[in-house]
């Protein structure tokens, strides 16, 4: 087992990892930028090294500085958390070259699943259903139209180098195709310097349902069932839950089997998530694979009672997994609490938290790195806490979330607590009737 792990991250996830390391008797090293001197992860680690000024490029994303910190502290493993360098194959490679264990998959696995097109090719070859679409880039509008006719409208044009919604267009019928083709290409060129476009069937009213997976170093893989992450704003998840209100035992078995097949196809090492889109007919399609621990891993931990960070570390240390699959025994919901003003277009609200009182009690878990008197730096993301509740039924979980949100007092900065309070009251949410377009339709300010 590792003697000392350096956590190449910050905020709540760094603290989360430190906690598990402590329980495992592993020493911890925190790294931090000068903006994070007072951060909890720095306080609770056994050692801490300041590695740079606030900008991420000079601190949390800076591989030489992080490796220097590994060197002077003699850490034998690095945990990258999520975001930052968690899916940076170069970083994983550098760690390997220095004889430091990167707690996660191999560089090749990161690369293969990081590129949208090779990921899809890999999945198709493995027999995992994918969104019907072009094989690679669409050469021209004529080919595009022929393919769209075959797949059936509506279709989506997507930039291969893209992300964040740029270079994406929904085409509802052939008559619109040429127009959208041109604008998508121009936008992609401007935003990414690459006007390559691929085409996919546009899944109507899709739900985002992902499967948590784990694979060991010996070729075994398993799944830990699903999380429904359909409540999103601009492709950012706001609420996650398990089990999905849309799931059936049959669908879970099919999706779980597909997820495990995906792991076997690449001999996946570590914990990861296979994201699927599920249409209203309960057809599911591979969307992408996240080769890291995720923000919402906590939801699975609450319903399956495993410490996923511990499993991650054990896998990295060469401990085999049983290969058994796991199914939710309870119901859990997570609300991401961000320092944003939901009444002003979710504008970020950094600054000093004068009062921070988080909810407690039976079935309530709060993962956070902030405290009364803490100043949220403006350089990083706005999530300040994850509020997770667990109960026997979905109805009870919603009631518990309402109770917990009412107890959540944060003063000094604006938070998305009021947004979540209104969401919990929404009829469609309560009934489980929602898909990824939900927040586009629901005007919560007038709820």
């Amino acid at each position: 087992m590792f003697k000392k792990i350096l956590i190449a991250n910050r905020g709540e996830i760094a603290l989360r990892i430190i906690r598990t390391c402590k329980e495992m008797g592993i020493k911890t090293v925190a790294i931090y930028s000068t903006a994070d001197r007072d951060s909890l992860h720095v306080r609770f680690a056994d050692e801490a090294v300041c590695i740079g000024p606030p900008p991420s490029a000079e601190s949390y994303l800076n591989i030489p500085r992080i490796m220097a910190a590994v060197e002077i502290t003699n850490a034998d493993a690095v945990h990258p958390g999520y975001g930052f360098l968690a899916e940076n194959a170069t970083f994983a490679e550098v760690c390997g070259e220095y004889g430091i264990k990167f707690i996660g998959p191999t560089p090749e696995q990161i690369r293969r699943m990081g590129d949208k097109i090779t990921a899809k090719e890999t999945m198709l070859a493995a027999g995992v259903p994918c969104v019907p679409g072009s094989e690679g880039l669409v050469p021209d509008a004529k080919a595009g139209k022929a393919l769209a006719k075959e797949i059936g409208y509506p279709v989506m044009l997507k930039a291969t180098a893209g992300g964040g919604g740029k270079g994406m267009r929904i085409v509802w019928s052939e008559s619109e195709f040429d127009n959208h083709w041109e604008t998508a290409r121009r936008e992609a060129q401007a935003a990414f310097g690459n006007d390559g476009i691929y085409l996919e069937k546009f899944i109507e009213e899709p739900r985002h349902i992902e499967i948590q997976v784990a694979g060991d170093q010996y070729g075994k893989a398993c799944h830990l069932s699903e999380r429904d992450c359909s409540i999103q704003r601009r492709h950012q998840k706001l609420v996650e839950e398990s089990p999905s209100p849309f799931m059936t035992p049959e669908l879970r078995e099919k999706m779980g089997a597909a997820a495990v097949k995906a792991c076997h196809a690449i001999n996946y090492e570590g914990v990861g998530t296979i994201e699927f889109l599920v249409d209203k007919y309960r057809n599911f399609y591979f969307m992408e694979m996240n080769t890291r621990i995720q923000v919402e891993h906590t939801v699975t931990e609450e319903v399956i009672d495993f410490d996923l960070i511990k499993e991650q570390i054990k896998i990295a240390a060469g401990v085999p997994i049983s290969g058994r699959n796991y199914f939710p025994e309870m119901h859990a919901i997570e609300c991401r609490i961000n320092a944003e003003d939901p009444f002003n277009d979710f504008r970020p609200s950094p600054g000093r938290i004068t009062t921070f009182h988080s909810p407690k009690g039976h079935g309530v878990r709060v993962d956070t790195h902030v405290y009364s008197g803490y100043t949220i730096p403006p350089y990083y993301d706005s999530m300040i806490a994850k509020l997770i509740v667990r109960a026997r039924t979905r109805d009870e979980a919603i009631k518990k979330m309402e109770r917990a949100l009412d107890e959540f007092i944060v003063e000094g900065v604006k938070t998305t607590v009021p947004f979540h309070q209104r969401l919990m009251q929404n009829e469609n949410f309560r009934k489980g009737n929602f898909h990824t377009g939900f927040l586009n339709i629901w005007d919560f300010k007038n709820a």
């Binding site: 680690a45 000024p53 490796m67 220097a68 002077i72 003699n74």
Partner: protein, 178 residues
Amino acid sequence: MDVNQIQELIRLVSKSKIAEFILKEGDFKIIIRNQLPGAEQSSSPSASVVAFPPPVVTIPGAAPTLPPPAPAAPPAPAPSAAPASASEAPPPEAAPAGNWLTIKSPMVGTFYRTPGPDKPPFVKVGDTVDVGTKVCIIEAMKLFNEIESEVKGKIAKVLVEDASPVEYDQPLFLVEPL
């Protein structure tokens, strides 16, 4: 001697008229120097705390041998923020004045005072430095980086022991401006 006792000690010494206080307990030694009222600058007494790092452990056969890191600063800050490791100080010199400049580390790595094992140090206390004067080497991942001063003045104090690990922004030298 635990953190609370050390804090209490600092508090007591800084309140007193003691100029220098040395306590030795087995392997542990602490020197606390007081800037007494009537000295050059700051009106409030500031105590500088000097604590010696644990002995350097060399693991035979492991290459390269790196010294263990200096103990992490205790969570509750001492009255004045002090670096965790310090140089062997000569007989009591003037307490740090308010206008002294600090040369801070621009990177993470291991601090070396000399360009090579048998060479003399880049700078000593009392040397004059200018912008661009090489003051030390910081090594990371087998790359040796010569660090240049960004200030002009006279080296008043060397704050880090040779071959110690340093972090970003860690004070390395105190410089008295000319």
